[in-house]
C-alpha cells in the first residue's frame, strides 16, 4: 500500500496517561494513524497496550490526553459512544449473545444486514444462515461474524485485537487480505503477538514500553528486529549475573524430577505441554499473554483438570481433584491476583495460618502459642510490615503479596508455583521475593516461576522454558536467557535468525509472497 506524505492523521492520540493507584499504566503515550494504513500496536506484557486500547474504545477514561478522530476531538465514555465516533473494535473473544440468532445479534448492534452479508462473503464464509443461533456456530465463524459486523457499519478506524489467534489458516489469510485492502479512507489498528503477521500486513508500528510510546517503525524488511529492540529498550544488555547455586544439567540427570508433565492439555489454550521441574531449582516460565500459562498453573494447582496428558510428582502419577490434593503433597500456588488469595477483611495472622485449619482433623482447638510462633517466623522471614495487620486490605500491595507467600513458607513447601508474584509491587519487595525463592530452592524446594518481567528470569531463575501456543517451544539456562533471546522465543522466532525470506519479501508488497508467508506460518501453528 502506498502512502502519501500527508500529515493529516485519521486518528491521533496524544499524551495519554492513566494510573491505577500507584501503578502507572500509561505515561504520555501517543498513537497516530494515517488514513488508509494498517497500523500495528506492539509491546511486551504490561507495556500498556491493553490500557491504550481500552481508552480508545471508551471502556476506560484516561487521566489526561486527547484523542482526535478526523480532526475533531472525541471523548468516548463507553464502547457504544466510541462506535458512534467511528471507532469499532473486534476482540479476541466473540462479542455475540449465544442465545440469540445472528439476525437478532445484528439488530442489537444496529448493524445493517446487506453490508454484513457482503463482508461475510468477502471474508470467505458464504451462505451463513442468519437464523442460526450464535451458540451453534463454530468459534472461527463467530470471529468472522464479529469482523463482518464491524466492517458493515463502515468505521473510520477498525481496531483488531488478536483477531487471528485461533483462526484456521485459510480464514486467517482471507481476513488479513481484506484487512489490507480496506481502502484509502479507512484505517486499521492491528494488535497481534505474531510479528510475522505484522510484517505481512502492517504499514507502520507503534511500540509501547512501560506505558510510553518509544518508537514508530515503518514496517519493512528487517523491521522485526527493530521492533524487538524497541520493546526491550536500552540497558537490556547490561544485566548483573547472579552467582552460583545453579543446578547443573549433569546433576539433574541423576535426580528424579519433582514434577514431570507429559503432553498436558487443558481448556482451549494449553496444548501438549511437556517439561520437567527438579528439586533445588527455580524454573522460569515465559510466555506472551494467553499462551496457556494460566491453564498450566491452574492444572498444577489442582484448580482445573487437564483434558489430556499426565503429571508425575516425584516419579509417581498424580491426579488432583481439588487444590487440597495438590497441597497435601506439598504443591502450593501463589496467585498473581492478591484479591484471589487473601482474606481481605481478616488479620495477617489468620491469613498466614489459613492452610493450618483447612482439613477436618485440624478443625479443633487452635494452639495459639504454636500458631503465633509459626506466623511470627514467617513474618520475620519475609520481613512483612504487619503494623496494619488487623485487616490485610490495609497493607500495601507488596506486603500483601508477601503474606500470600508467607502462608506457604509457614506451612512448609516442597513445590511452589508462583504466577507473576512481583506484578505491581515495588523494587525492594521484588528483590526480597527473589532472595526468598532462591533460599527456598537452596533448601531443596522446587520453584516454578511465571513472570511477565523478562529480566526476572536472570535475577531469580536457574533455567527457563518458553510457552507459545500452549506448548513449550524453547528451553534455556538462565545465563543465556537475555531479554532479547526470551522475547524472540516468546514470539516463536528462532534465536538470532533473520526474518524468513518470504516474509521479508511480503513486507515489500508482493502479495503472493504474503500468502506464502501466511500459509507457512499458519501451517506451523496449526500443526501443533
Amino acid at each position: 500500500m502506498t502512502l502519501t506524505t500527508s500529515t493529516d492523521m485519521l486518528l491521533e492520540a496524544t499524551d495519554v496517561s492513566k494510573t491505577y493507584g500507584a501503578v502507572v499504566a500509561l505515561h504520555n503515550a501517543s498513537l497516530a494513524v494515517r488514513p488508509g494504513e494498517v497500523h500495528a500496536l506492539v509491546g511486551a506484557n504490561g507495556a500498556g497496550k491493553s490500557t491504550l486500547v481500552k481508552i480508545l474504545t471508551g471502556a476506560v477514561t484516561p487521566d489526561s490526553g486527547r484523542i482526535i478522530v478526523r480532526g475533531r476531538e472525541r471523548k468516548s465514555h463507553s464502547p457504544a459512544e466510541a462506535r458512534r465516533n467511528g471507532l469499532v473494535s473486534v476482540y479476541q473473544e466473540p462479542a455475540v449473545i449465544p442465545d440469540l440468532d445472528i439476525r437478532e445479534n445484528l439488530r442489537l448492534t444496529h448493524t445493517p444486514v446487506e453490508p454484513f452479508r457482503h463482508w461475510m462473503n468477502e471474508l470467505g464464509v458464504e451462505n451463513l444462515n442468519l437464523s442460526s443461533l450464535a451458540r451453534r456456530l463454530p468459534l472461527a465463524t463467530l470471529r468472522i461474524v464479529d469482523l463482518a459486523k464491524a466492517l458493515a457499519i463502515e468505521p473510520d478506524v477498525l481496531l483488531l485485537d488478536e483477531i487471528t489467534a485461533a483462526l484456521p489458516a485459510n480464514l486467517t489469510e482471507r481476513v488479513l487480505q481484506n484487512v489490507q485492502q480496506l481502502g484509502e479512507d479507512r484505517s486499521v489498528i492491528f494488535i497481534s503477538h505474531r510479528l510475522i503477521e505484522i510484517a505481512a500486513v502492517c504499514d507502520r508500528a507503534t511500540v509501547l514500553r512501560n506505558g510510553e510510546t518509544v518508537g514508530v517503525v515503518d514496517v519493512a524488511a528487517g523491521s522485526e528486529d527493530k521492533i524487538v529492540n524497541l520493546m526491550l529498550g536500552e540497558g537490556a544488555t547490561a544485566l548483573a549475573q547472579r552467582e552460583g547455586g545453579h543446578v547443573t544439567a549433569a546433576a539433574r540427570s541423576h535426580q528424579t524430577p519433582r514434577l514431570s508433565l507429559l503432553g498436558m492439555s487443558a481448556r482451549r489454550r494449553l496444548h501438549n505441554a511437556s517439561f520437567e521441574l527438579y528439586p533445588g531449582e527455580v524454573l522460569g516460565v515465559v510466555a506472551l499473554e494467553g499462551q496457556g500459562q494460566d491453564e498450566l498453573f491452574d492444572v498444577l494447582a489442582g484448580s482445573e483438570r487437564p483434558s489430556s496428558g499426565s503429571l508425575l510428582v516425584d516419579g509417581k502419577p498424580a491426579t488432583f481433584h481439588h487444590p487440597a490434593d495438590a497441597i497435601r503433597i506439598g504443591m502450593v500456588y501463589v496467585a498473581a491476583d492478591r484479591a484471589e488469595a487473601l482474606l481481605m477483611q481478616r488479620s495477617v495472622r489468620e491469613n498466614i495460618s489459613l492452610p493450618f485449619s483447612a482439613r477436618i482433623p485440624q478443625w479443633g482447638w487452635i494452639n495459639l502459642g504454636r500458631e503465633k510462633h509459626k506466623v511470627d517466623e514467617a513474618v520475620n522471614t519475609l520481613q512483612i510490615d504487619a503494623r496494619a495487620g488487623a485487616e490485610v486490605r490495609r497493607l500495601s500491595g507488596g506486603n500483601q503479596q508477601k503474606v500470600t507467600i508467607a502462608r506457604w513458607v509457614a506451612s512448609g513447601v516442597k513445590t511452589m508455583l508462583c504466577f507473576d508474584p512481583t506484578r505491581g509491587i515495588d523494587i525492594r519487595t521484588k528483590n526480597q521475593i527473589y532472595v526468598l525463592l532462591r533460599d527456598l530452592a537452596a533448601a531443596g524446594a522446587a520453584v516454578l516461576l511465571y513472570t511477565s518481567e523478562l529480566k526476572e528470569i536472570q535475577l531469580a531463575c536457574d533455567r527457563v522454558i518458553v510457552i507459545f501456543g500452549g506448548e513449550v517451544v524453547a528451553e534455556m539456562p538462565a545465563a543465556q536467557a537475555s531479554e532479547a533471546a526470551l522475547l524472540r522465543a516468546a514470539h516463536n522466532l528462532k534465536p538470532d535468525s533473520a526474518l524468513p525470506e518470504e516474509v521479508a519479501a511480503a513486507a515489500t508488497g508482493d502479495m503472493s509472497a504474503v500468502q506464502a508467508a501466511i500459509d507457512s506460518q499458519s501451517t506451523t501453528v496449526s500443526q501443533r
Partner: protein, 330 residues
C-alpha cells in the same frame, strides 16, 4: 487530615472516619452504649419499669432470640443465612411435647426433636455446600418441609395428647433467685459459640469461606465439608431455642417460634455481622438481641400494637443500614 489549622486536633477527634474506625474495630462499645441508652429511656418513659422482674423477662426473651441469632451469625459469616430456624425451632418444641405421654418421655422427645432438627440442617447443608444452591432458597424450602412434617406429626399424635413437659417448663420459666433458668441453657451455648468462632480451626474456616471462597479453596479448604456441618449445627441450635421457647410460653405449636425469624437476622446484623460474610462475631449478636428485646419493650410503652410494628421494623432497618454503611469500606 487535609486542613492545617489549629482545629485539626479537635476535628480529628470528631471526624467521621474516627467514628467509623471505632465502630468497625470495637462494635461492642457503641452497641453497649445504645443498649444502656434504651434501658434509661424505658425507665424515663415509665418510671419504675426497670425492676428485677422486667430484667428477668427481658433476659428470657433475649435468650431465645440470642440462640436463634447465633444460627444467623454462624451462617452469615460464611455469606449464607438460615431462614428455616423458625419452623425448625417450633417443630422441636412441638415434637418434644408430643412425647410427654409416650414411652421414653421427655428425654426421648428431646433426642428425637434435636435429631430431626440436625437432620433438617444436614439436608440444607448438602443443598448449600454440595449442590451450590443459594442458602436463602434452600433454607426457606427446608423450613416449609419441616413445617409440613410437623403438621403431619400433629395429625398423627392428636389422639395421644400432648403437653409441654414440666422439666422444659422449669427451664423456660423458672427462676434461680433473680436469674431466669433459661440462662442455664443460653450461657453454655454462648460460651461454646464464642469459643468456636474465636479459638477453633472450624471457626476460622467460617470466616475464611465468607471472606473469600476462592482464597479458601486455593488454601485447600473444601468448603462443602464446612457448610454441611454448619447448617446441621444451625439446625441443632434452632431446636434448642425452640425447646426453651416452648417452656417459656408453656405452648407447643408448629408455628410458635416463627415470629422470631426476622428479629434473629436483625439481631445478628445489628450486632455487626456482615450479611456478605467474613466479618462479625457472636458477642455483638448477644448485645444485638438484648437491644431488640429492650426496644420492643420501650415501644410497647409508647405505641399501640400496629404502630409498634411499623416503628420497630423501621428502626431495625435504619440501624442495620447505618451500620452497614459505616463499616462497608475502609
Amino acid at each position: 487530615m487535609t486542613a492545617a489549622t489549629s482545629t485539626v486536633g479537635r476535628n480529628r477527634w470528631l471526624s467521621a472516619s474516627t467514628w467509623r474506625n471505632l465502630l468497625r474495630d470495637y462494635p461492642l462499645v457503641p452497641l453497649t452504649i445504645l443498649l444502656v441508652l434504651l434501658v434509661v429511656l424505658a425507665d424515663i418513659l415509665q418510671p419504675g419499669l426497670v425492676n428485677p422482674g422486667w430484667v428477668t423477662s427481658a433476659v428470657r426473651q433475649a435468650a431465645v432470640l440470642g440462640i436463634l441469632a447465633g444460627c444467623q451469625t454462624l451462617t452469615m459469616l460464611t455469606g449464607g443465612i438460615d431462614l428455616s430456624v423458625g419452623f425448625v425451632a417450633s417443630m422441636a418444641g412441638f415434637v418434644t411435647a408430643t412425647f410427654v405421654h409416650q414411652p421414653g418421655g421427655w428425654p426421648m422427645g428431646i433426642a428425637v426433636s434435636l435429631g430431626a432438627a440436625a437432620l433438617a440442617g444436614l439436608v440444607s447443608g448438602i443443598g448449600v455446600g454440595i449442590f451450590r444452591v443459594h442458602p436463602l432458597i434452600v433454607t426457606l424450602g427446608m423450613g416449609l418441609v419441616v413445617f409440613g412434617f410437623a403438621n403431619v406429626w400433629q395429625l398423627q399424635s392428636v389422639q395421644t395428647g400432648s403437653g409441654v413437659p414440666i422439666e422444659i417448663r422449669t427451664i423456660g420459666s423458672g427462676t434461680l433467685g433473680a436469674l431466669p433458668n433459661d440462662l442455664l441453657v443460653f450461657v453454655p451455648v454462648a460460651i461454646v459459640l464464642l469459643l468456636l468462632l474465636k479459638r477453633t480451626g472450624y471457626g476460622r474456616m467460617l470466616y475464611a469461606i465468607g471472606d473469600n471462597p476462592i482464597a479458601a479453596r486455593l488454601s485447600g479448604v473444601r468448603s462443602w465439608q464446612v457448610l454441611v456441618v454448619l447448617y446441621a449445627l444451625s439446625g441443632v441450635l434452632a431446636g434448642i431455642a425452640g425447646l426453651v421457647q416452648s417452656g417459656l410460653s408453656n405452648t407447643a405449636s408448629v408455628t410458635l417460634v416463627q415470629p422470631y425469624l426476622l428479629p434473629s437476622v436483625a439481631a445478628a446484623v445489628i450486632g455487626g455481622t456482615s450479611i456478605l460474610g467474613g466479618r462479625g462475631g457472636y458477642s455483638g449478636t448477644i448485645v444485638g438481641a438484648l437491644i431488640l428485646t429492650v426496644l420492643a419493650s420501650v415501644l410497647s410503652i409508647v405505641l399501640p400494637e400496629p404502630w409498634r410494628q411499623v416503628v420497630f421494623g423501621s428502626i431495625v432497618v435504619l440501624v442495620a443500614a447505618t451500620y452497614a454503611r459505616l463499616t462497608a469500606e475502609s
